[in-house]
């Protein structure tokens, strides 16, 4: 009983306190079918979110609703490379792009596999994932790879299997982002049952999916991690970027605990897989 009261209180203070007022309390509601749940506590009294987690979604293909599509090279790879159909994770269905930004998304998609090497003089082309770049936030969360949460009172490490990307969430931290980055500047706090991570300081180099959905360096993401059961987290992210979108929008999806005996985040160092793609044209040709 007491749990439920606390959740209600937290929700009210959230609605009052945050800029999110346009998108109220769904944030705290358990996903359909889940009764109210109070997570086991870490030593500091906050919910214990430690563990290895993974999304089961096709959002990395496209965060919006999408049908099955052929891969880039069906003549070589047949069904191997084909994309699954999937239901989107965007609340309300569509990303609220500024009309003039839709062309950029389309271009991104069309050129997603035309990768140029990092150059410094011309803008990068192609999906950052294809080039084994850090995937950004929130994309890292719903890529088809697990990640591990290592929770301490002052710092929470989230370390992702994809290219060993990591980010450090600084709890109750005041300092603003010192510099732009791929995984952003992550500051966290607890709101009752929920870990809230405020992410700023992004560069404009990451995408949301393989469909070319993108953002600018004005991106601001607020993530919420709430345990639904010992084996599920509800993940929500509110995405704000006035240069690209007409209003903030939200994604939500469950994360599943990996429970296999001795399961571990494996190593996926993808650089060797992309070097020929990036640099093959600069390799000395045999005479």
């Amino acid at each position: 009983m007491r749990n439920r009261v606390m959740v209600v209180v937290a929700t009210v203070s959230l609605v009052v306190g945050l800029w999110l007022t346009a998108m109220p309390a769904a944030a705290q509601a358990p996903a359909a079918g889940f009764p109210a749940y109070r997570a086991p506590r870490a030593a500091d009294g906050h919910p214990d979110l430690n563990g290895i987690w993974q999304a089961l979604t096709t959002a990395n293909f496209d965060v919006q609703d999408h049908e099955a599509r052929p891969g880039l090279h069906p003549e070589l790879e047949g069904a191997y490379d084909a994309q699954h159909a999937g239901q989107g994770i965007v609340e309300g269905g569509a990303i609220p792009y500024r009309p003039e930004m839709l062309a950029k998304k389309k271009e991104n998609f069309e050129k997603r596999a035309i990768a140029n090497p990092p150059h410094g003089e011309e803008p990068p082309i192609g999906d950052p994932e294809l080039k084994c770049w850090m995937p950004g936030v929130p994309r890292a969360t719903y890529m088809p790879f697990p990640f591990q949460i290592v929770q301490t009172p002052d710092f929470i490490l989230m370390t992702y299997e994809f290219n060993g990307t990591s980010r450090i969430i600084r709890m109750n931290w005041k300092e603003e982002a010192p510099v732009d980055s791929f995984m952003g500047w992550n500051r966290g706090h607890w709101e009752g049952e929920t870990l809230v991570v405020d992410v700023t300081g992004f560069n404009d180099q990451t995408w949301f999916d393989r469909a070319g959905d993108f953002h600018s360096d004005a991106l601001h993401v607020v993530e919420r991690y709430t345990a639904l059961s010992p084996y599920h987290l509800q993940y929500e992210a509110t995405i704000e970027d006035p240069k690209v979108f007409t209003r903030p929008w939200k994604i939500s999806l469950p994360l599943y605990r990996r429970v296999e005996k001795n399961v571990q985040v494996m190593e996926f160092k993808c650089v060797p897989f992309v070097e020929e793609l990036l640099y093959g044209g600069l390799v000395k040709k045999a005479r």
Partner: protein, 387 residues
């Protein structure tokens, strides 16, 4: 540079320091200071009453951000004989000379030296100019002479591998990379070079000697900033991965011996995961054979602000005996930031396009030409050279 002053000093007899220091690792109290030298008198570790903190679930608490830079050389200079620890005065002199030797703004070495000094003081952590607090003459504490043990004669196969690596080195060092595979693991942004401190063993390098340690029940995670390398170490007694799964970083398993975290790491890969040999620096330290290489690391918190890191490497195919180094991890208030590498690896583009441009002008690389540089690490650092 340090030769001169060190040679002029008498050789002091000391007790067997390595034995003392290593014994200290396995105990719950701080390492005992070496007793007999003046230089060591002030190295006393924190008060004996200090008890290492523990996490709420009972593991020794190693957490924090640490810097393991030091100017103490890996190998003991030959001219100091068996002296293991410097006096205060000797140490001060060595540090002064180091400050001069490492001053990259000098212009007294000619063009090539200038180019090699491009990584100037900006890159250098101040700790890089300080000897270990106990003023040892080498990071190696075993073999007791502080030097690398004799190597095992290379097999014909290994000699062939080394010749291939030397050719890659020569192309790289002379600006004629044929392919990205002439880059080493660091140039290629896969992992940091083993001899540059970003991976186990954690060895001091010119810059970026920082790591943050996180702990949760059953895990210790060491996050080295450079090339963003989170090393997740299970400490829950689980077995290693199958030998069918080789990795760049190795598969670590930890356990506690008293207040010491002991980590053993296996499953190192011997190719670049595309079936090609790893030429220039290999994937494990010291050019060892990944299949027989063994690394055991011991982390002991000896005070509020210091972890003693004792690391032992062995490989019967490479060295005649194991090597143990002792390196202090010093707690710092600095933070760990994101380190992109692949994302902005402009170097690779420029190395390759530069080489192709030279070829287009008719230049041909001749490794035997006068002035061609055969090997060695490029300006970014590399293993501490012996001065």
């Amino acid at each position: 540079m340090s030769h001169r002053s060190l040679t002029s000093l008498g050789v002091l007899a000391v007790m067997s320091l390595p034995a003392v220091l290593i014994a200290g690792q396995a105990q719950t109290t701080a390492a005992k200071p070496p007793a007999t030298t003046p230089g060591a008198a002030k190295t006393a570790s924190p008060a004996k009453t200090w008890t290492p903190p523990h996490t709420p679930w009972g593991d020794p608490d190693l957490q924090g951000v640490y810097n393991y830079a030091t100017s103490t050389l890996m190998q003991r200079p030959r001219n100091v004989g068996d002296k293991q620890v410097l006096s205060e005065d000797e140490a001060a002199e060595v540090q002064e000379e180091l400050a001069f030797a490492l001053n990259r703004d000098r212009r007294d070495g000619g063009t090539q030296a200038d180019a090699n000094r491009a990584y100037n003081d900006f890159w250098m952590n101040p700790l890089r100019l300080k000897l270990t607090q106990d003023k040892r003459t080498s990071l190696i504490v075993d073999p007791p002479n502080g030097r690398m043990p004799p190597t095992v004669p290379a097999t014909p196969e290994k000699q062939k591998e080394r010749a291939v690596a030397a050719a890659m080195n020569a192309r790289f060092n002379n600006g004629f990379m044929a392919s990205y595979t002439d880059g080493d693991v660091g140039n290629r942004c896969i992992i940091r070079r083993r001899n540059e401190g970003g991976g186990h063993p954690y060895l001091p390098s010119i810059y970026n000697n920082v790591a943050q340690i996180f702990q949760s029940p059953g895990y210790v995670v060491i996050y080295a900033e450079m090339i963003h390398f989170s090393r997740i170490i299970p400490v829950d007694g689980r077995p290693h991965l199958s030998q069918d799964v080789k990795t760049w970083l190795g598969d670590p398993r930890g356990h506690w011996e008293g207040d010491t975290l002991v980590v053993e790491t296996t499953n190192f890969r011997s190719d670049d995961s595309m079936g090609r040999p790893l030429g220039r620096t290999g994937v494990v330290w010291g050019g060892a054979d990944p299949d027989t290489y063994k690394i055991t690391e011991r982390f002991t918190r000896v005070g509020p602000d210091q972890i003693n890191y004792a690391v032992t490497m062995s490989d019967p195919h490479t060295w005649t005996q194991p090597i143990t180094m002792l390196i202090p991890f010093n707690k710092t208030n600095d933070q760990i930031y994101e380190y992109g590498c692949q994302e902005t690896n402009y170097d690779m583009y420029h190395w390759l396009s530069g080489a192709r441009a030279r070829e287009a002008k008719g230049e041909v690389f001749n490794p035997n030409a006068p002035g061609a540089r055969a090997g060695g690490a490029e300006g970014g650092g590399g293993e501490q050279e012996e001065r």
